[in-house]
Symmetry: C2
Subunit: 432 residues, 2 copies
C-alpha cells in the first residue's frame, strides 16, 4: 500500500528532527528566560541559563514547570507575549479551587490545528469524512481544538457536544457520521444504547473510526468498543497545558502513540527523582512546547505515566512512540499498602466475558474495597450459580492483577452513574 503523509516532517530522519528540536529549544528557552520572570528566577536558583544548553540532553539540567507554577503571578504570570497577542483562553480544573489558565495566540491555535489535521489524516480520515465531535465545547480544550483541526482537514464537523445520547444517535443516523470523538467511558455508554435500540452499527450507522481521549483507558476497553460499534478506535493524547488534543496520536499500527516531535520535546522521568528513566521503563511524561508563542512551557510535568516504545514504527513515521497512558500519578490510590491504578482494574474487567460497560470502585470503612460491575442483562435470569461463578472469577482475576482481593458486586446494566464526560471511577469514603 502506498503511504501518504500530511506533512513530510512525519518521516524526517531522526537526526534532522533532533537538529530541528535543538534549534527550536534554544529559541524558546531564550524567549522564556527573557520574558517570564518566574521562570528566569527558577533558572537563576538552579544556576543555569539558556546558553548552557549545548545538546538536547542538556535540557535535564533546566528546572521543571509544574502545575503549581501555573498559579504563580496568576493568571498572566507565565505569558511570554503581551496580552494583546492572545486570542484564546482555555482552562483546566486545578487541584485548588482556581482553574489553570492557558493562553494561546492565533499562531498557537493554527499550529495545534495542523497537528490535529495531521493526526486525523494519519488515521485515514479525509475531507470526505463526517466527524461528530461529542466532547464539551467551551473552556475545555477537547472539543474546540479538535474542531479546528478537523475543519482544517476539511472534514464535516458536527459540533454535537456531549450528552443527550438519543440525539447523538439520531445525528449519526441523519447525517451519516463516519467518525466520532468522545471519551472512552461515554463511547461505551453510547455503544450500549445503540445495542439496546437494536441498531446494527455496520448497517444502520456509517461509523468507521472513534477518536477517544481525555481519560485513560485500556486495550480491553478499546477492543470492546471496536466490537460493539464496528469501528477502529484511535487513541489520542493531549492536555490543555500543551494546547489540548493533537500532542500524540496512534497511527494505524495501533502500537503506541506518536508524539509530534517537531512541536514537543519529549522526556520521561522518574516521578520521584526527576531523572530520565531507562528506555522502556515507566515514568512521568515531561513535555516542552517548542512552537508555542503566547505561553511556552518548559519541561512541564504532565503527571501522566507511560513508557517509550523504542522500536521504529512500521508506519514509517520517525516520531517517538509512547505506550497508552497507564494512569495519572494523581489517580493512584493505595489499598492495604498496595499502589493501584483504576486502569489495572478496568483491564481485568473488560477481559471477562459477561461484563458490561460500566464499573465503579468504592473505598469505604477501614480500607475496604468494593468493585461494582455492570454485567449483561441475561445473567439475571434466576440461575444464581452462574452469577456466583462470574463474581468469583472477577474477584480472583482482580486479586491476581492487583494483589488485593476486593468485594465484588454485580449489578444490572444502567445501575451505575453514567458519565458523559470524564468518568469518575473511584469513590473514596474511607474513614482512616
Amino acid at each position: 500500500m502506498e503511504r501518504s503523509y500530511y506533512n513530510p516532517i512525519e518521516v524526517a530522519p531522526r537526526e534532522d528532527l533532533r537538529i530541528l528540536q535543538l534549534g527550536k529549544l534554544r529559541k524558546i528557552l531564550n524567549k522564556v528566560y527573557k520574558k517570564v520572570p518566574h521562570y528566569r528566577e527558577k533558572c537563576k536558583k538552579a544556576k543555569i541559563k539558556p546558553s548552557n544548553l549545548k545538546t538536547l540532553e542538556d535540557i535535564r539540567h533546566f528546572p521543571f514547570t509544574t502545575k503549581e507554577d501555573l498559579f504563580v503571578d496568576y493568571p498572566f504570570g507565565l505569558l511570554a507575549e503581551p496580552l494583546e497577542k492572545v486570542v484564546r483562553l482555555h482552562t483546566s480544573s486545578g487541584t485548588t479551587g482556581k482553574p489553570k489558565a492557558l493562553f494561546f495566540s492565533k499562531r498557537d491555535i493554527f499550529a495545534q490545528a495542523h497537528l490535529i489535521a495531521r493526526s486525523l489524516y494519519m488515521s485515514g480520515a479525509t475531507f470526505r469524512d463526517i466527524l461528530q465531535n461529542s466532547m464539551t465545547y467551551g473552556l475545555f480544550t477537547g472539543a474546540l481544538v479538535m474542531h479546528y483541526g478537523a475543519e482544517l482537514l476539511g472534514m464535516l464537523v458536527i459540533p454535537a457536544g456531549p450528552g443527550n445520547t438519543e440525539r447523538q444517535i439520531e445525528l449519526m443516523q441523519t447525517f451519516g457520521t463516519t467518525c466520532i470523538h468522545m471519551t472512552p467511558s461515554y463511547a461505551l455508554y453510547v455503544a450500549s444504547v445503540i445495542h439496546e435500540k437494536g441498531l446494527k452499527p455496520g448497517k444502520d450507522l456509517k461509523l468507521k473510526r472513534a477518536y477517544l481521549g481525555a481519560e485513560p483507558y485500556t486495550d480491553e476497553t478499546r477492543q470492546k468498543i471496536e466490537e460493539m460499534l464496528g469501528v477502529d478506535v484511535y487513541n489520542c493524547y493531549g492536555l490543555s497545558e500543551m494546547g489540548g488534543p493533537g500532542v500524540g496520536f496512534e497511527c494505524p499500527e495501533k502500537k503506541g502513540l506518536h508524539l509530534w516531535e517537531d512541536a514537543f520535546l519529549v522526556e520521561i522521568v522518574n516521578p520521584q527523582t526527576g531523572e530520565p528513566v531507562k528506555p522502556g521503563e515507566v515514568g512521568e511524561l515531561v513535555l516542552t512546547s517548542l512552537n508555542r508563542e503566547a505561553m511556552p512551557l518548559i519541561r512541564y510535568r504532565t503527571r501522566d505515566l507511560t513508557h517509550f516504545i523504542p522500536e521504529p514504527c512500521s508506519c514509517g513515521r520517525t516520531h517517538v512512540r509512547i505506550a497508552r497512558i497507564l494512569g495519572r500519578a494523581d489517580d493512584m490510590f493505595i489499598v492495604r499498602g498496595v499502589n493501584i491504578f483504576p486502569q489495572q482494574i478496568e483491564a481485568v474487567l473488560m477481559s471477562i466475558k459477561g461484563v458490561a460497560q460500566n464499573y465503579q470502585i468504592l473505598l469505604e470503612g477501614y480500607d475496604e474495597m468494593t468493585v461494582k460491575v455492570e454485567i449483561d442483562r441475561d445473567f439475571f435470569d434466576g440461575r444464581i450459580e452462574r452469577l456466583l461463578k462470574l463474581k468469583e472469577e472477577i474477584a480472583e482475576k482482580l486479586r491476581q492483577a492487583i494483589q488485593v482481593r476486593p468485594k465484588v458486586e454485580l449489578v444490572e446494566p444502567g445501575t451505575l452513574p453514567v458519565s458523559e464526560g470524564k468518568a469518575k471511577r473511584v469513590i473514596d469514603n474511607r474513614t482512616l
Copy 2:
C-alpha cells in the same frame, strides 16, 4: 473624531453596492437553479428563471424559501455543493421535531467570521479587548460563529458558554473581561447577581460593551442593562439560516442595525401578501445570501418583523439599516382578538420604576392573561398601598399599550424561572 472602518465596502456608494449585489445575485441564482432541484422546480412552477433577472427589483418575482423548504429532501436537499466541500453543520430548532440543518463550507465560515470582525470593530472593539462569549457552544451558531469572528479580529476570547453565573462573574474578575456576548435575558440576570454581590461594575469589573442577541428585546431593556453594568449595549442580529450572528449589527449611533449588503440582499415584505412594504412600514425581513457557497438560500423568510430606517446613517456607513426586531411572526399571540407581541409588554414593564429583571406572561382558562412581574425587593417592606399602586400602574400602562388589561402579579426577585439561553416568556395553557 477620525473614523476608521474594517473594510472600505462599509462606506461604498449605494450605487456601487447595488451593482455588486446585482452581479452576485445573478451568480447565486444561476448556481442554485442549476444545483438545487427543489428550487429549480419552484422556479419552473413560478415560470421564471435566472435570466429573467434584469434589475435587483426583479428578485420579487422569484419564489421565497421558507422554513418548510429546509425539510424537503432533508437533510442534504438544499446543498449547492458536494458534501465533501462542507466542513460545518449547525442546527436550529424546527417547528417539527427535526432540527433545521444548515451547512457551511470553509469559505462560508471564513466569510461570516469577517462579517463578525467587521461588526465588532464597528462597535469599537480591537485586539486589545477580552470577549467573554457566554452563548451556547455547539450546534447552535450563536457562540461558535461569534468566536471565529472575534478571534479573527484578535480579541482574547473566553469560551465561557452560558450558565453558572457565579463562574461567569469570577471569569470577568479574574481575566478582566471587557466585552460580553449573551442573550439579553441572561444579561439582565447576570447584572442582577452582580448587584446582589455588591460589585461595582465600573470599579470591580472592566466591562465596556455587551453584545446582545438571539432573542428580541426592547430599548428599555437595553437601557436597564447599560445602567446596571455600566456598558454600551450593541444589538446584533443573525439567524442560523444566514450563517448565525454577523448579519446585522448596530454602529455606535445605535439607531438601528446595519445589514451587510455586500453579503445579503435585504427585503421587507408584507407577511400576508409577500409584496414589498412601503419604506418605513413594518413587515417580515427576507434575506438572500449573496456569498454563501455550500447552501445559498434565496429570499429566505426569516419570520422576523422590522422596518427599514430610510435616512442615511451619520456613521458614514451606507449599508441599509433596520429597526431592532419587533418580534417574530411566530411569537405573536392573540388575546381577546388582539394581536400582541411579548416585546410590547416588555417595553412597558422595563419603563416602570420598581420593576426588576424578569417577567412572564401566562395565558390560561378562557383567554385570561396574567403578567407575573419581579419587582425590587424593597417593595416587600409591608407597605401594602405602595405595592397596590405599582400593580395598578403596571396594569393600566399595559392596557394603554396593548388594549387588553391583564391581571398583574408582583413577585420577589428570583421567583420566576431564570433563562440562561433564549427566554421563554409566554406560557400558553388556555383551554379554548
